[in-house]
């Protein structure tokens, strides 16, 4: 077939788009499947959930490009996440969930490739900008302040003044973050927002609030004895007013869908579909019925 495009060739094209700035020694690479397989379609997702893989199968797309690995653990030596107890292969292989997922991938000849650090580092900042757009912040970007946070992939926005409660409601609706969690007085007025998709480490929040030009920090997830405790102390000090943790998955979904749009700009032979995985939580019992 003259138009045959292998998974390997797709990856090469992505690498050439990133061009000379491609960073080596990252967590990225093939996770499962045959990299010589002919690609029938590409799906992108933050993490390749079973549901996202089933969607790919139903679309007859056989290449999954995701920012996270499939088996809930780093697959190589490069750590991009702060694990709280990586499952050993022995424990994984004994798990019915692992067996189910692995069989699903194998039976359908799916190819999984992880694209993470180099995606985050794209100068056009699609991961941050896509989330900022879904939350309605993008038009209010404080570009100079965002530029100072370029290395951590965070942004700063001067939105029209609102209450913390209304900001949280808008975030819930914009990011489909029904399980979001908030710290701070809901009645406080806020205007300057620092935003970071994904997992915010303590050094990240220190950088985001250092210039004392931020009222509220919005992130995906934070460790409760690290950046979360820092946010508590920052609010106690009277330096900040609030923190919103959207939930990890929903903070990454816009960026993962934007990844599909970016790939479509240089791969036209096969369909490319972005999948929002949504939040993993079934319900939040404190929510009033």
């Amino acid at each position: 077939m003259a138009t045959s495009l292998t998974a390997d060739a797709v990856v090469e094209r992505i690498r050439s788009q990133v061009s000379k700035s491609w960073m080596g020694g990252t967590s990225e690479g093939f996770q499962c499947g045959d990299l010589g397989a002919t690609v029938t379609g590409i799906v992108t997702a933050w993490t390749p959930t079973i549901e996202a893989l089933q969607k790919a199968i139903s679309l007859k797309h056989n290449l999954m490009i995701s920012m996270e690995p499939p088996f809930w653990r780093e697959s190589g030596t490069v750590r991009t996440e702060v694990s709280m107890g990586t499952p050993s292969m022995k424990v994984l292989e004994a798990s019915s969930v692992y067996q189910y997922k692995k069989k699903l991938i194998d039976d359908h000849g799916l190819v999984l490739w992880r694209f993470n650090e180099n995606y985050r580092a794209l100068p056009s900042n699609p991961r941050l900008n896509a989330l900022a757009r879904s939350l309605g912040y993008q038009a209010h970007e404080n570009a100079a302040a965002t530029q100072k946070l370029a290395t951590i992939g965070a942004g700063v926005y001067a939105i029209p003044e609102t209450s913390l409660a209304d900001l949280a409601k808008k975030a819930r609706d914009g990011a489909n973050a029904k399980a979001l969690r908030v710290l701070g007085d809901p009645k406080e007025k806020v205007k300057n927002v620092a935003l970071m998709p994904g997992y915010m480490e303590n050094e990240d929040i220190m950088a985001m609030v250092r210039d004392r030009n931020v009222d509220v920090v919005v992130c995906g997830e934070a460790c409760e004895w690290e950046a979360f405790e820092y946010a508590e102390d920052w609010i106690t000090a009277g330096w900040g007013k609030g923190m919103i943790m959207l939930g990890r998955a929903v903070s990454e979904d816009p960026g993962a869908q934007e990844l599909a749009a970016w790939i479509r700009s240089f791969i036209t032979e096969v369909p490319v579909t972005g999948i929002a995985v949504g939040e993993p939580f079934s319900y939040v019992p404190s929510h009033k019925a």
Partner: protein, 291 residues
């Protein structure tokens, strides 16, 4: 100002407070002049085999350990708010279960040049306070006090296995009812559930923060309770468990809500073993809210 006899007894420990009230300092317990270091040493000797001298966690974090202790504040986490409330109560020795400077090992880099670190440190030093952590040692006490306290609070001690306090066996209940019991007794809004609310739960195990523990827990029990997990690994495993047709549920609560009452137990333990040293439990409360 009306003060009860009990409060007067407590206040009389604090010469400063007593002087403000225009009273004599009254009888001062011999132990009231102990230093933080001496109290920490006493705790470690009473803890015996549970004391973990090699732990990087269970060390002094701020302040001079040779400072005389006016009173002890025990807490889940030495947030700036907890430190301030301890000071307002005249308690200058904070004994915390969790970190003070935002990393597990209370690492100075990157905190040392951070303005919030300097503010917190100055507050501690200016008020002659001391912060010490007991984490690993307290967890090593038998029966493990955090799980024992959780079981008691939830009324689940009758269901807990004698051989493993983390694990409970219940009469069959739908997940929604188990979660409702948990939420009713746990003062936090931060409880998130992965699972079918109608699914039957007969066994449940607490898994800490680790993905591996949660995977193993879900293989042997109908449900797990975790106080803080990383979402990319553990919550995503839970999502995939449901998608694979597996039965099982995860109850993910805030870290604070799962260990606060275990530090109340520490307070009672301290009172029993170090009588004469004034201690108060200062609640941390996670203050999270949801929509």
């Amino acid at each position: 100002m009306h003060i009860t006899r009990r409060e007067f007894g407590q206040r009389s420990l604090f010469t400063g407070a007593a002087a403000l009230l225009g009273m004599s300092a009254g009888p001062v317990f011999a132990d009231a002049t102990m230093t933080a270091q001496q109290i920490a040493d006493k705790i470690s000797s009473i803890m015996g085999p549970a004391w973990s001298p090699a732990s990087y966690r269970d060390t002094f974090k701020m302040g001079d350990p040779n400072t005389a202790v006016q009173g002890v504040a025990s807490c889940f986490m030495s947030t700036f708010d907890v430190i301030k409330r301890a000071h307002e109560k005249g308690l200058n020795f904070v004994i915390t279960h969790e970190p003070t400077i935002w990393t597990d090992a209370d690492l100075l880099p990157p905190a040392q040049n951070d303005p919030l670190y300097r503010l917190k440190l100055e507050y501690v030093n200016d008020n002659k306070m001391i912060v010490w952590r007991t984490h690993d040692s307290w967890h090593k006490m038998q029966p493990e006090p955090m799980n024992a306290a959780q079981n008691k609070k939830l009324g689940w001690d009758k269901y807990a296995l004698a051989s493993d306090l983390r694990t409970c066996r219940f009469p069959a209940l739908p997940l929604r009812d188990v979660v409702a019991q948990y939420v009713e007794k746990t003062p936090t809004e931060s409880v998130r559930v992965i699972g079918n609310p109608d699914g039957v739960v007969q066994s449940l195990t607490r898994c800490g923060h680790s993905c591996e523990q949660n995977i193993e827990g879900l293989e042997k029990c109908d449900a797990t309770v975790s106080i803080e997990v990383r979402e990319f690994e553990t919550a995503e495993y839970g999502r995939d468990l449901l998608a694979s047709g597996g039965k099982g549920a995860m109850i993910i609560a805030s870290h604070e809500s799962g260990e606060e009452n275990g530090m109340e137990s520490f307070t009672n333990w301290f009172k029993e073993h170090l009588p004469g040293i004034h201690i108060e439990f200062v609640p941390t409360t996670d203050r999270l809210w949801t929509l």
